[in-house]
Structures are given as C-alpha cells and as structure tokens.
Symmetry: C2
Subunit: 229 residues, 2 copies
C-alpha cells in the first residue's frame, strides 16, 4: 500500500556505529551491502525507520536483524541531513553509537544474509554513503565522553582488572597512560569497587577484579563530578 | 502537488531552543502558535523540513521566519522520535539549540504574524508538544558544555568584563562562583585576552574589557584542554 502526502518528505533512516574492544584494538561492526546503491560495499548497520516505531527501537531492530547484536548500550549521536548523502533520494539518518563487550556478544550471520564483521579502527575498508564521516564523529564522541563519563565501562566484562581498564582508556584515547597516575585517579574517585576476587587462569600474577559502582557514580555526577583521565 | 511513497514516512521537523542572557536571568525564545494543534499555546520556534534543504538550513529558516533572529550560533541537540509527540501524526523532530547575545539581536514581529518573545527560564508558560522536555534537555546540555567548552562566550558581547563572564557562568550553572578562583582559572587558561580598553558609561569603577581568544582555545582543545569552571 502506498502513502501520499501533501508535501515531499525526506526518507528517515537510522545507522549504528558499534564499538567493541579486543586485546589490541578498538573495533567497529560493519555489514556488507547486498543491494544497490554501493552494492558489495561495507557500511554501518542500519535502515529505514518504520512509522510505528521509535528511533531507538528502529536502531535496535536494524542492529539485531543485520548483526544479531541485542541488549546493548545505545546512544544517539547526531542526525545527518546533507542533501546528497544518498544517491537514491533525500535521506536523513539518525546516527547512534553503541559499545559492547566482545566477550559477551557473539555476532551471528544476519537474517538479511549480509556479511557482518568486526573491523579494526586502523584497518577500515571504504564505506558506503557518508558512513566514514559518521564513524569519525562517533569515534570523536567516544574519545571526548570517555574523559568525563565512565562510558567505557560498557566495553569491559562486568568484573575487570585495573590493567584492563587502563588498556581500554589507552586504546580509546590512542596514547599511553601512566600506570600509577591512572590507578590513583580511578581509585580516588571511588567509582570502581573491589570484588574480593582475583583473575583466574592467567599466566602472570593474578590481579584483583573490580566492578563499576554505578550508584556512587550517579551520586557524584549530580554533585558535578568530572571524570578526568 | 502531492507525493506518494511505497512506505509510510514520519514527517520531519526542526525545533530550536534559543538561549540569551540578560542582567538577571537565562532567557529562552518562544513563539505563540496560531494554528492547531495547541493553538494559542507557546512553543519553540520550528517547523517542517523541506526536502531540498539541509537540517541546519531548515532550523535557520524557521528561526528567521518566526522570530527574525539571524546569523546566530546553532548546534544540533538531539532528535526526538516518540510515537505520540504530535497529535496529528508521527512527527520526528531534530532539536537545535542556539545562543545569542541579547544586545546584538533584536527580535522582530515574525513574518508568520505569530507572537515571539523572550521568557525567563524560571518563568515559563506551559509549552506545546514535548517542547518542555526538549527545552530541559537543551538547558542540561548548556550546563554541561559550558563547563568544558567556552560555548558561553556566544552569549556575551564581543568585548566583556570578567564580571560579565562570571555572571554568565553563575546564571547558567545556577550557583555563585568565587570571584578570585574564577578569575584565576579563566586568566590561567589564557583563552581570554585584554583588549586594552575599559568599560564606558558605567556608574561603578570602569573595568577592563576582554575578548575571547578563539585561536588559542582551538590550540588548547587539540592538546586536550579541559575548560573547567
């Protein structure tokens, strides 16, 4: 059934930048397009917003359909509305970004039979549409946010070592951090808590496991905390 | 001429939260609606995005048409897509916020013959649609941003006293700041410069006039400055 409107309307889509962290690198999830335009090219997961679903729901649905990723932390990034960003017609896209812990989220063959895969941020293929620009903006947002909000905890397992936490910041900020200063700052803000447990099955000396103290963090944020690394 | 699409499309609008500063208060620009829904109610300036204009252009056009405000600093805030936010049909809106210096921008009777007026943030009328929520979000963004970006300079005249600058921060953050600490921080970051001039026509002792050093600021941002007040 077709739909008729008095005035022309831009099409509305969502696109999602999903970041994950592995041992060495910040990764991003891409899917391979199987339809024109940009057939065969890699792109961010995403698609058209249905008139009966919210933007957040559309982002979650597309992500799930195209990559199998579910129940992840999503945040709106910005809305891109350049006139020529899609060769088919005027398409406005609401971009999201998401952070996942690689260990907890297996990527499955997508229901749309497209390829879905993780790419290292330093090893990206050419991307369809303005997706390179969206990805760059998401990366910048992540770098900025990670400095004043403990957003990065979403990228870690629930229990983590301070070494893992420092590694996360080093990968996102793309520079080495001083171990002593980093620990002093993180522990000083009291937003991570010792769990009383230690690492298992590691070849080096087992380190203490910590967890993020969300309640403490929310309290500090209200008082005007700056989470500064 | 009507337009037909294979799938139903949400309508797309822009809405703009314009902040200004006067002697005592943070102000916001509202317009009075002269058509249903919410006829007669106050609302944020805004309207439908044309298929041949960018989102930024649509925001600028609506602002100019409805309030006469031109050439002002605009930034995208977020996109609201709740299903029931407009009683007519599904409408997704891209919200912007803008900062203006009251002295430099006279508000004229709008071309659409609607009332346009400044309201104190502590003295707001009930607002149409979800505009109260959008306004609240814009206010929060302003409070957060002003702490790590010198965004507030847009609210001041080009040349300003440190008293004016402190007042701006006090109004936005809604708390008093220690004069000595404030000056030490601001001058220490070297992002304001003395102009060599002093205030004119004031009854109190004329204070030095400063201006914002954008180049210095941009350089510091690249090095990872935190503009912290």
């Amino acid at each position: 059934m077709s739909h008729t409107y008095e005035f022309a309307r831009p099409a509305l889509t969502v696109d999602v930048v999903v970041f994950a962290l592995d041992e060495d690198d910040l990764k991003v999830m891409l899917i391979q397009r199987d339809l024109p335009p940009y057939e065969g090219a890699w792109a961010l997961p995403g698609g058209f917003v249905r008139v009966e679903e919210t933007l957040d729901d559309a982002a979650r649905r597309e992500l799930s359909e195209e990559t199998g990723l579910r129940d992840i932390y999503l945040e709106q990034l910005y809305t891109a509305g350049q006139l020529d960003r899609d060769p088919r017609e005027r398409v406005v896209t609401v971009a999201y970004y998401a952070l996942v812990n690689l260990a907890g989220h297996a990527v499955q063959a997508s229901t749309d039979a497209r390829n879905a895969a993780w790419f290292g941020m330093n090893d990206l293929p050419p991307l369809a549409f303005d997706h390179e620009q969206i990805l760059k903006m998401a990366h910048e947002r992540l770098r900025t946010k990670v400095r004043y909000q403990p957003i990065g905890f979403e990228l870690l397992p629930e229990r983590f070592t301070l070494r893992q936490l420092q590694h996360l910041y080093e990968v996102i900020l793309d520079r080495e951090l001083d171990k002593r200063n980093f620990r002093k700052k993180v522990l000083g803000m009291e937003i991570v808590k010792e769990t009383g447990e230690i690492e298992k099955d590691v070849s080096h000396r087992a380190a203490r496991l910590y967890r993020f103290d969300k309640r403490k963090y929310d309290r500090l944020m209200k008082q005007g905390l700056h989470f500064e690394i």
